[in-house]
């Protein structure tokens, strides 16, 4: 430890308190903003990730469309309508498919009545494997099963918010009956869901029962299929196989991109990852920009310090100070100033992000777009590294100037 050097640094900073504090604030602000920005970015990213985690990561959503190409003598303009057999085809013939389900839209007021209450909820007729696709969590009772579908049972599984609104005083609603669109269904389970709140206001119904009771026909509005693959190429191949199987069954051209629509959230996840990669890059850019402003401030201050100390530097040179020892003195001071103020910036930014995360958890604040903001050790490490480099850069040019000061001129100053 070079006691004299540090004594001089403290002395130099102490002699100009206001200047030191203002400079420190500019660096502090830069690094503080960088940490806050990145923390906020992670909050956005984590909330989006949470939404993806809610549904199975690699899910195909398939809708029927209208053919646009003639195929095997058939004219374009035909509607493609899925039915239960389509789901079986996906389930049995497509390699790599894990879970499948259909969904059926129910039109009208969708009134659900219980005792004197009549409220409108989303009705969602599905197959049993829908449980895994939506990552539905059963709280009481059970989900729909094959037996329910096989014998067209009039049963339903309600969301915990449905239960709360419809029968807040009933501890265990399993076994109770609700009247849906005029027909009594028995509640066999209550579920919750980690996704957005609306999911918990759904009522799941056996799809076959709904087909029979409300449609009179075997129909599916939307097919869902999941894969456990995390590979983009495999996923794209699976998509091809799904299209060709459905094209064979419904007699449309595989190249007809309007006959059916397939939406895959894994592709979306990729886009999402790219998007957040870019967002992060942007945040770093902005953050580093504000650090740069701080660094230029420090560099300016160091220039002024060098000017102030010209005479002193001249004296030191006369006494045998080498250019190197002069540079080292100025650069150390600069690194010290940026280092300390930046370190405080990192700590305060980190503190605020952690506090925010803690407060959100503690007071159960649930925001759709913001979740668990965090700063990783890697970010802190890079921020500190940037600071050190910034300090050196900010100090170097003024120091270089100081080193070239002529001792004679300096002492006559």
């Amino acid at each position: 430890m070079d006691f004299d050097k540090w004594q001089e640094i403290f002395e130099s900073l102490r002699r100009h308190k206001l200047r030191t504090i203002l400079t420190a604030i500019s660096v502090w602000w830069g690094i503080f903003m960088l940490i806050i920005l990145l923390g906020a970015g992670s909050g956005l990213e984590n909330s989006a990730k949470r939404d993806f985690e809610d549904d199975s990561m690699n899910t195909f959503f398939i809708y029927g469309g209208v053919t646009s190409l003639p195929h095997k003598g058939l004219k374009p303009g035909r509607y493609i309508q899925f039915d239960n057999e389509d789901r079986e085809i996906l389930d049995e013939r497509i390699e790599g498919i894990e879970y499948t389900s259909g969904r059926l839209w129910l039109w009208g007021d969708n009134l659900t009545k219980y005792e004197d209450k009549a409220l409108s909820f989303d009705l969602r007729p599905v197959h049993p494997e829908h449980l895994h696709i939506e990552k539905t969590i059963i709280e009481q009772g059970r989900f729909l099963n094959e037996a329910d579908l096989g014998s067209f049972r009039k049963v339903c599984v309600i969301g915990d918010l449905v239960k709360e609104e419809l029968m807040p005083n009933i501890a265990d609603p399993v076994g109770q009956y609700v009247n849906i669109k005029g027909i009594d269904f028995m509640i066999v389970g209550v579920f919750t869901d980690k996704g957005w709140e609306g999911e918990r206001k759904n009522i799941y119904l056996p799809i076959t029962t709904v087909q029979k009771v409300f449609y009179g026909r075997d129909r599916i509005s939307q097919l869902l299929a999941t894969s456990d693959s995390k590979n983009m190429e495999e996923t794209m191949m699976m998509k091809e196989r799904i299209i060709s199987s459905l094209a064979t069954r419904h007699n449309f051209d595989k190249e007809d991109n309007q006959a059916i629509y397939i939406w895959n959230n894994f592709e979306n996840f990729k886009d999402f990852q790219t998007f957040f990669g870019m967002l992060k890059g942007f945040l770093w850019f902005v953050g580093i920009g504000s650090i740069l402003a701080g660094v230029i401030g420090v560099s300016n201050i160091m220039l002024i310090i060098v000017k102030d100390r010209t005479r002193e530097i001249g004296i030191r040179k006369a006494l045998g100070a080498t250019p190197r020892s002069i540079i080292s003195m100025i650069v150390t001071e600069s690194v010290f100033l940026t280092g300390i103020s930046g370190y405080v910036g990192v700590l305060s930014g980190f503190g605020i992000i952690e506090l925010l995360g803690y407060a959100m958890e503690k007071f159960e604040v649930e925001l759709e777009f913001f979740y668990k903001p965090q700063i990783s050790p890697a970010v802190i490490f890079s921020a500190l590294l940037i600071l050190i480099i910034a300090g050196v850069v900010a100090g170097y040019f003024p120091a270089k100037k100081a080193a070239t000061i002529s001792a004679v001129e300096a002492m006559n100053n």
């Binding site: 006691f3 001089e8 006494l319 045998g320 190197r324």
Partner: protein, 225 residues
């Protein structure tokens, strides 16, 4: 100790070139106490800067302690300034935020002498100039004479070959000037080679030899009787 042959030095100011030293020849024997005199503009300050390795010269040769001082890098110049030379200035040039003791010890810092040893040696030299009681005082708490004594102690601490003094009494009253000259003579008596730049005849008269500089040339060298 010092041998200077045909030293020339000019400064460029805009388009005009100003020849300050026009071929100076001089030498200083080991253990001599020499004064350099001259009116302002005679080139004496420039000569002192050249002697002190604080400024470069254009041509000629300079031997200091039998070492050729030619084409030195900044680092080498710093080394020789530190090892061979001690400086005493008109305006003392003490660092205001350091105590007398720390000021005296500073040249040893650039020799990488350990702090304890530095301060121990600085105490010895402060005692020699009679200011050991003032070691913890800052320059602004001292009189001009005291400051110059501290500066002299600082110039001696590295045990240099030559002490260069630039108008050392220029900022002092006559009584204090006498005290400082007495100290100089005392240091000289211990065997130190000394070069004093001055424009005061009373000061020059107390040295062994006077080198008179005029218009960038040595006019005459007069031994003081």
């Amino acid at each position: 100790m010092i041998e200077i042959n045909n030293i020339k030095k000019s400064y460029k100011t805009g388009s005009t070139e100003l020849q300050v030293l026009k071929g100076v020849n001089m030498h200083v024997e080991p253990g001599e106490l020499v004064s350099i005199m001259g009116s302002s503009g005679s080139g004496k300050s420039t000569l002192l800067n050249v002697l002190g390795l604080l400024d470069k010269y254009d041509s000629g040769s300079y031997l200091l302690n039998n070492v050729k001082m030619e084409g030195l890098s900044e680092k080498e110049a710093a080394f020789y300034r530190n090892r061979f030379l001690g400086f005493v200035f008109q305006s003392f040039n003490l660092l205001p935020f350091k105590t007398a003791l720390e000021n005296v010890a500073l040249p040893l810092y650039y020799q990488k002498v350990d702090r304890k040893e530095r301060l121990r040696k600085a105490e010895q030299y402060l005692e020699r100039v009679g200011l050991l009681n003032w070691k913890d005082h800052y320059p602004n708490e001292m009189s001009g004479g005291q400051k110059q004594r501290v500066a002299i102690a600082r110039s001696l601490i590295t045990e240099p070959k030559v002490v260069l003094a630039d108008e050392p009494t220029g900022a002092l009253d006559s009584v204090t000037s006498e005290e400082i000259m007495a100290l100089f003579k005392e240091v000289h008596a211990s065997g130190m080679t000394m070069v004093v730049v001055t424009h005061e005849n009373e000061i020059a008269a107390q040295t062994q030899r006077v080198i008179r500089l005029s218009d960038g040339l040595v006019k005459n060298q007069v031994p003081v009787l």
